[in-house]
């Protein structure tokens, strides 16, 4: 696998139990899609919690979302969409054998992902300073609702789990950069780039729903 031979066929990546490179690629991609199905249902449970509590306390959601800054939520949405673009460009570079472009696009993606996390860090620390903490640790007095902590427990669980996914994504991208520098990827083999891209786009899709559901309640 990590062999850096420059043979003509470049089939180092091909496992003996696959007929050819394409079959191996399709099998990996299908496996990733099955994983993404479990991810959708994993986040799905939290979305159900969000919906159930919103149906019970609609007025709470209106009040509590005032504490979230729509501007920074929108910036983070744009940052993640931008990173989805750079991941798609990274895959395109790999498909065209442009390894330098692949590495550059991966670095931009990592930079955007870190930007997202830094913005999230400032959002969290501003809330922590006010005493807006999840569950029983909640001590903020600014919201006239006895269940105010529930909204923020859901907020922290959803954005927190999403943030963990962004961090894992950063780790995967760093691994891809490392692999790409070792000249592992070429137009005939870029499966890890493709399936990491699928993962990253799903993380983007989840944020696309989190943003209006948490920040844009007016």
């Amino acid at each position: 696998m990590s062999q850096t031979s420059s043979t003509e066929e470049k089939l180092d990546h091909l496992k003996h139990y696959f007929v050819d490179s394409d079959q191996q690629f399709e099998a990996s991609k299908m496996g990733m899609w099955i994983f993404l199905v479990t991810e959708i249902l994993f986040f799905g449970g939290l979305f159900v919690a969000y919906i159930v509590y919103r149906s019970w306390y609609p007025e709470l959601y209106l009040l509590a979302s005032e504490e979230l800054h729509t501007f920074w939520g929108a910036v983070n949405t744009a940052v993640l969409i931008g990173s989805s673009l750079t991941v798609a460009m990274a895959i395109r570079s790999a498909q065209l054998n442009q390894i330098k472009g692949l590495i550059i696009n991966l670095w931009i993606t990592i930079g955007l992902a870190l930007t997202f996390m830094v913005i999230k860090y400032f959002e969290y620390s501003e809330k922590f300073a006010k005493g807006i903490l999840p569950g029983s640790a909640y001590s903020y007095e600014g919201i006239e609702h006895e269940k105010a902590n529930i909204f923020f427990s859901i907020y922290y669980m959803m954005t927190g789990l999403h943030g963990v996914h962004v961090l894992i994504g950063i780790g995967l991208m760093l691994w891809l950069v490392f692999k790409a520098k070792k000249k592992v990827f070429h137009s005939g083999y870029y499966t890890p780039v493709e399936i990491t891209g699928l993962y990253w786009h799903l993380v983007d899709i989840i944020w696309i729903f989190l943003f209006p559901l948490l920040y844009l309640i007016d």
Partner: protein, 100 residues
Amino acid sequence: MSGHHISSAKFLWGIALALFMLTFLTVAVTWIHIPSPWNVVVAIAIAVVKALIVAAFFMNLYWDSKFNVILFVMSIAFFLLMIGITLLDTLYRTDPIPSF
């Protein structure tokens, strides 16, 4: 059916631009204060359109094997089932809402 669809850079930028514009739109509609519940419907509708654009053209489902499309659609179907069955309980409880 081809798993190796290569999108042009121009196309990918176009998709991103559409997503940026829809993000702006979803923020802009909150300024005109659409009455409830339509504000939620509009917000979700825009999010669904954005998600479908990402799935179809960034995740390449548009060109991908139909099996992967079925996987994605089924996950959404089961997610909706999870929402529906849970709401059948929580929306129709006669007892007061639990303390948590």
